[in-house]
């Protein structure tokens, strides 16, 4: 198990290099000369060259990448052009809020998908399962930013039950207050991701239910609860894998959900800075979420290996 994790950690290096290359190239495809933003319009060519040399923009692109990477590894993500702050100071507190939202949503989504998926696999011919099936199919095409607006319309505007924006009330910030603010963003995120998960759980579980060993267990007269434990143990690796992928979708989708709910996370920061063309922040925000995603996948893989000995032999 230990050596498996070491191997996976080593395999993460090329993945992270790939991620940083893509994120670095994003800055390079920004149209226009970056020097224009930094020098007065009447600057001479010599002055422009001086700025270019100071920023290292006169170097070959792979040298620029190496320099940038060396700074990123040390935690220096550059400075915000608009707010004159280190990007890391802006993004790291926001990352906590994003993870709070995403992890809560992931747990709720996982629980709902597991319950509904297992039920639908056990009773495939029931009308409840047919309804779940239709709902989960519909959920796949559901834009989360639209669900978010509908939830605000119903629960904040019409019913007035829950707050429509932010993470804390003015002067608030207690645990209960944060939970109240969390409900709608989590609901919007879950509703737009749970469909895929549910379908996956259902097809995995119904596949296992048809296998001979389950038939034998039932023939032996083992209680249905124990049979269910066997089923879950067999299905969990596949289900966890899908959950990991879904988590990526959740993190990415958080940009949109956070925007609608003014949730103070990385997505909200990215949205605000896109409008201001403060590109270093956008770039760093994308990098941070991608790294979080790679990290989550590592955890999922480790869990997968813990549950399924066959994986460890790879």
């Amino acid at each position: 198990m230990g050596s498996f994790i070491w191997k996976r950690l080593l395999l993460m290096i090329p993945t992270l290099l790939g991620v940083t290359i893509v994120v670095f190239l994003m800055l390079k495809i920004v149209p226009g000369d970056p020097v224009n933003a930094l020098v007065p319009t009447d600057a001479t060519e010599a002055e422009r060259e001086a700025v270019r040399a100071r920023l290292g923009l006169d170097q070959p692109i792979f040298v620029q990448y190496a320099n940038w990477l060396a700074r990123v590894v040390r935690g220096d993500l550059g400075d915000s052009l608009v707010r004159r702050l280190p990007v890391a100071d802006l993004l790291l507190p926001a990352l906590q809020n994003t993870l709070l939202l995403a992890i809560t949503a992931a747990i709720v989504s996982f629980a709902v998908a597991l319950a509904v998926g297992v039920y639908s696999a056990y009773y495939p011919k029931s009308s409840l399962a047919a309804t779940f099936n239709a709902l989960s199919l519909a959920g796949i095409g559901l834009p989360n930013f639209w669900v978010a607006l509908i939830l605000i319309g119903v629960f904040s505007v019409a019913l007035g039950w829950l707050p429509s924006a932010g993470m804390k009330s003015a002067g608030g910030g207690s645990f209960a207050d944060i939970i109240r603010h969390l409900i709608l963003p989590v609901a919007a995120t879950v509703l737009s991701t749970v469909g895929v998960m549910t379908r996956m759980v259902r097809s995995t579980v119904s596949g296992i239910l048809q296998q001979d060993h389950i038939f034998v267990l039932r023939a032996k007269g083992i209680s249905p609860t124990k049979v269910l434990l066997h089923v879950l143990r067999n299905g969990m690796p596949t289900i966890l894998n899908v959950a990991g992928l879904q988590f990526g979708y959740l993190l990415g989708g958080s940009v949109l959900v956070e925007t609608v709910f003014s949730w103070p996370g990385v997505g909200q920061v990215i949205y605000q800075t896109i409008g201001q063309r403060d590109f270093p922040v956008v770039q760093a925000g994308v990098l941070i979420i991608a790294i979080a995603f790679v990290g989550i996948n590592l955890i999922v893989d480790a869990a997968h290996a813990a549950l399924d000995p066959r994986v460890r032999r790879v």
Binding site: V22, P124, A134, G141, L142, P143, W146, V157, L251, T259
Partner: protein, 298 residues
């Protein structure tokens, strides 16, 4: 299936799943399976056609509003879908807006199918180093949540529908290439490819005459299943302000504009999203039926 009464009560308790479904349930399932696909196809065609025919069908100008008609609710006479804060007719804006929204949902998938298909077939057919280089570089994209990568690229390129199409294409190339690669690998093992090779056919001919024909079905079904997701991603980018500039109508961006009105004009706010959802749902239902049909054929 037998309709015998259970032999003993125990069996009935251990195996409740064997209970015969009611006729109502069977009807519901049949409806979901086939009729829904048919209905979805009709809805999809209706949406696409009415957007294409927007200049003929729109009752009002999509950009110029009437100030005295501001904020009319859904169902108002003459303005079925209501009006926005500038008194512009929502129905007209939806019809015109759909042209760009649908374009940004379909175009990236078509482009990605061509590019990803070509890359995947090349990787799968030639194998070896070519395969490693192509597939491992495409793998990098899977390290990003799809919509986040699209947001990053789109933000870098700057606002515009063309840039949304470019960034969404980048996101959809790798998954499509994977499908094409695995399908090609399967075909390349077949004896008739071996026969064609030994009778002297060159790679170009084999790919065109044998591989493409056999891979196309799988590729088509998979790509169709991506359109709904692409529409949601593209309209999401647009929602973030990365698409059109005002006053041009486009579903995602309209939703962004209208969201400020949610406290005074809530129902109208929901309309553009409903169209995004309906379109994406219809595409998914149609593609689901397509892939069922395709699986059944095998």
């Amino acid at each position: 299936m037998s309709t015998h009464a259970p032999v003993s009560a125990d069996v009935a308790i251990v195996r409740p799943a064997r209970r015969e479904p009611s006729a109502w349930t069977l009807a519901l399932q049949a409806l979901i399976r086939r009729k829904a696909a048919l209905a979805a196809l009709i809805v999809l065609l209706a949406i696409v056609l009415s957007c294409l025919l927007a200049p003929l069908l729109s009752p009002y100008d999509p950009v110029e509003g009437q100030v005295r008609d501001r904020l009319l609710p859904v169902g108002s006479a003459g303005h079925w879908l209501g009006t926005d804060e500038q008194g512009r007719d929502l129905l007209s804006r939806m019809l015109y807006g759909g042209r760009l929204s649908l374009l940004s949902g379909f175009a990236p998938v078509v482009l990605a199918t061509v590019i990803g298909g070509a890359l995947g077939i090349a990787a799968g057919y030639f194998g070896g180093l070519a395969n490693t280089i192509i597939m491992r570089s495409l793998d990098v994209v899977f390290s990003f949540p799809a919509i986040l990568l699209a947001i990053g690229i789109s933000a870098a390129l700057g606002p515009g529908i063309v840039n949304i199409i470019i960034s969404a294409t980048v996101v959809f190339v790798p998954p499509i290439a994977r499908i094409a690669e695995s399908a090609t690998k399967e075909v390349a093992k077949e004896e008739y490819i071996e026969a064609a090779k030994s009778s002297g056919a060159d790679s170009g001919l084999i790919i065109r005459a044998h591989v493409l024909r056999n891979v196309f079905g799988k590729l088509f079904v998979f790509s169709t299943s991506q359109i709904g997701g692409c529409l949601v991603i593209a309209s999401g980018l647009s929602f973030l302000g990365l698409g059109v500039a005002p006053p041009t109508p486009e579903w995602g961006f309209m939703l962004n504009n209208l969201k400020q009105l949610i406290f005074i004009h809530p129902v109208v706010t929901v309309v553009p999203g409903l169209f995004i959802f309906l379109t994406s749902l219809s595409v998914n239902l149609v593609s689901d039926a397509l892939s069922d049909a395709f699986d059944a054929k095998r």
